[in-house]
């Protein structure tokens, strides 16, 4: 069997095709109250949302850039096209999606995945959702999966959205949350009624095609008491030389004894600034399970947060970050224990290669009233060469002495003995290294549905190929 040796950029060939966007559809670059009004007009926002956008813009103008993490100087906000409207309205029949957009998603395997193993699919192309479909039996169970704009105009959900939208992540949170509040467009709204357990996952796929564009999708998920949902999010963009921005926002509400599993495989192109905010609040006895694979982007700031507000609530975060050449990925997780007997577990792996920088941050807060709570944090880093970097920044703020807290960090390199051992059984050096790295990432691939675990292993294999020899 012959091994392909490829350079890093060609490895992305699956994701790197693109279609020219029509200039007429791009709103002027830069972010001004006029642009915001135009977006709001175009979308037919209710009055409260128009006010919300303008207010967020004021906060954005006043807020400084984040004082931590990797530099974002390469990002010129005046050049980011905030809103791109594709020449398509939302469709529920795949045949009605315009040809080039359809082809994009078909190459990414989206409708195929839907046919095979998903309960529903949403596909967002640039700023708007272009396709949405939910299996009939799922819809009949009362589960709602639609785009946020439609839901906002649906009398059944309008009030629910007004009372939940950016309540977990307010625009005052940080500069890019404020930006998101002003220009957000597209994204998903999911509502799972009490007691409904959706055994097959729902999936959304975000694709940023236009040059220099910003994607600001908003995902709002409400899982009522005793319900179960697995939501999968995939992201990609082709490569351009102009920096792109992704500042999405995810807000998750998990009811009593309910479980929400939120899986992400992110493979943005390597000039993207991925400044994403994700947050979940969990009621009594509920569970949030994050599974997160970060492979793409030039710079990432990503720290999904779980707020455990009810007694016995549980949060689990399983993540992997792979930083290759030119990538500076600042990722991690935050947990807030706000109630007694809550528990959390963070298990992350990070890999850095060819000069990539990977920083893991964790923040665990245990409030005074959260007696009898438990938390364990484990992070392991693997550096594949001597020019790459890996840092760990764990922060703990424990306000009660009746809590059980553990932390473990390991940093290492691939051992030559392990490579030789595998090679002595007939595996060439690249395959041996790739197998060791895939094994290292096993905590995440075990948690993913099979086809995503396979995609992740392919990504690792592609990243590893061409690294040696």
């Amino acid at each position: 069997m012959k091994q392909k040796t490829q350079v890093a950029d060609i490895d992305r060939s699956l994701y790197d095709f693109r279609y020219d966007e029509d200039a007429a559809d791009l709103l002027a670059s830069g972010i001004t109250p006029e642009i915001i009004r135009e977006i709001s007009e175009e979308k037919g926002d209710p009055e409260w949302m128009r006010q919300f956008r303008l207010h967020s813009l004021e906060i954005f103008a006043k807020t400084e850039m984040p004082p931590w993490g990797p530099p974002v100087d390469g990002l010129n906000l005046d050049n980011i096209v905030a809103y791109i409207r594709p020449k398509s309205r939302m469709n529920t029949d795949w045949n009605d999606v315009p040809e080039n957009i359809k082809e994009t998603f078909e190459r990414l395997g989206i409708p195929q995945a839907e046919r095979e193993s998903l309960a529903g699919v949403g596909a967002q192309y640039d700023s708007e959702l272009v396709y949405h479909n939910v299996r009939r039996e799922v819809a009949e169970s009362g589960v709602v999966y639609t785009d946020l704009e439609s839901a906002m105009h649906d009398p059944r959900f309008a009030e629910m959205i007004r009372t939940h939208f950016m309540k977990l992540v307010p625009p005052t949170d940080h500069k890019f949350a404020a930006l998101h509040g002003a220009v957000w467009s597209g994204g998903s709204f999911v509502y799972v009624p009490a007691g409904v357990r959706l055994e097959i996952p729902l999936q959304s796929y975000f694709r940023l095609n236009a040059k220099g564009a910003g994607q600001f999708e908003h995902t709002l998920i409400i899982v009522e008491d005793d319900a179960y949902l697995h939501f999968i999010e995939g992201c990609s963009a082709p490569k351009y030389y102009e920096a792109g921005l992704h500042a999405g926002c995810v807000e998750l509400y998990v009811g009593k004894r309910a479980t929400l599993r939120y899986s992400t495989i992110e493979n943005w192109s390597k000039n993207m600034y991925n400044l994403n905010t994700k947050r979940a609040v969990v009621a009594e006895g509920g569970r949030i399970e994050w599974v997160s694979g970060s492979f793409g982007s030039h710079v990432s700031y990503l720290y999904p947060m779980s707020i455990l507000n009810g007694r016995g609530a549980h949060a689990e975060f399983t993540g992997i970050t792979f930083a290759g050449a030119g990538q500076n990925l600042d990722t991690g997780a935050k947990i807030v224990h706000n109630a007694p007997e809550t528990s959390s577990h963070i298990d992350t792996k990070s890999i850095s290669k060819s000069g990539g920088i990977s920083t893991f941050r964790s923040a665990v807060t245990v409030a005074e009233q959260a007696v009898g709570s438990r938390s364990s944090v484990s992070c392991e880093s693997l550096m594949l060469d001597s020019i790459s970097r890996s840092d760990t920044v764990p922060v703990m703020d424990i306000r009660t002495d009746q809590a059980d807290i553990g932390h473990e960090a390991k940093i290492g390199r691939i051992s030559d003995d392990a490579v030789f051992y595998l090679m002595s059984r007939g595996l060439d050096e690249q395959s041996a290294r790739a197998m060791i790295v895939s094994g290292f990432a096993d905590n995440v691939s075990k948690e993913l549905p099979l086809e995503y675990a396979m995609e992740m292993n392919n990504l690792i294999r592609l990243e590893m190929t061409g690294s040696t020899g």
Binding site: M1, S415, D416, D417, A418, F420, Y421, L422, M423, S424, R425, G426, L427, D428, E429, S431, A432, M435, I436, S438, G439, F440, A441, D442, N443
Partner: protein, 248 residues
């Protein structure tokens, strides 16, 4: 027919030479034993023949089936049919024993293997070694006891079916029952593929069920004596002392 020829081999780690011109030949289907005191260079021979990058060959050659493999990488040697059972097998977290074996088999044979056929073979080989089927799904060597690691090495031997198997102290640290099981595995390998064996050992228990064709004694990086199976009995009686002296 000659399978392996080590010809005036000098090798070592960094500046330190450990083998000072070692020569020996192993024929097809033969069973050889390599004995010697601690630190004599037994493991170095095994690792150098397998192609460990830790050891540098500074002189001489290694020939396999008449071809010079001195400069070849370990994976190419494995594909030619050389196998080394490690004294301390490495643990690989996240890689299951069965996934690893299936990959290795496919790489060595150059063709895809049906899952069903693979599982059947694996099951049969594990039965020979009295290994619990659950081990197939466990991470390679992770948390295995010393005995389980050695069994897993012999399992790989049975699955990969090499032409030459070098067993580096496969019997050390095993209790009597485990030695018996491992010996059964080695006997099965001989029976199923008729491959050659180069057994590095301190202990003669493992040799009981085998017919030894030739014995090599190594001391201080030199072969100091060669003979038939009778040499093993002599070593057992009087130790290595006189062979160490001869080396000086």
């Amino acid at each position: 027919m000659e399978l392996l020829r080590i010809d005036r081999l000098t090798a070592g780690i960094e500046e330190k030479e450990l083998l000072h011109g070692v020569s020996m030949t192993v024929g097809s289907g033969e069973t050889h034993v390599l004995m010697g005191p601690n630190g004599a260079g037994k493991s170095t021979i095994g690792l150098t023949v397998m192609g460990s990058p830790e050891y540098q060959v500074t002189g001489g050659r290694i020939l396999f089936e008449g071809e010079d493999i001195t400069e070849e990488s370990a994976d190419r040697r494995a594909k030619r049919g050389i196998f080394l059972s490690f004294q301390n097998p490495v643990e690989i977290p996240g890689l299951s024993l069965s996934d690893f074996l299936r990959n290795a088999l496919e790489q060595i044979s150059g063709q895809r293997m049906k899952l069903w056929d693979f599982k059947k073979q694996l099951r049969a080989a594990m039965d020979v070694l009295q290994m619990d089927a659950a081990y197939a799904d466990r991470d390679l060597n992770v948390g295995f006891s010393g005995g389980e690691k050695k069994k897993a090495e012999i399992l790989q031997l049975l699955m990969l079916k090499p032409k030459l198997a070098i067993l580096d102290e496969t019997d050390s640290g095993l209790d009597v029952d485990a030695v018996r099981t491992v010996s059964a595995g080695i006997a099965a390998y001989r029976e199923q593929c008729g491959g050659s064996l180069l057994i590095i050992t301190h202990n003669t228990k493992i040799l009981e069920s085998l017919t030894v064709d030739r014995t090599h004694i190594i001391a201080d990086g030199r072969i100091t004596a060669e003979g038939g199976a009778e040499l093993i009995d002599e070593i057992n009686r009087s130790g290595f002392e006189k062979y160490t002296e001869r080396a000086i």
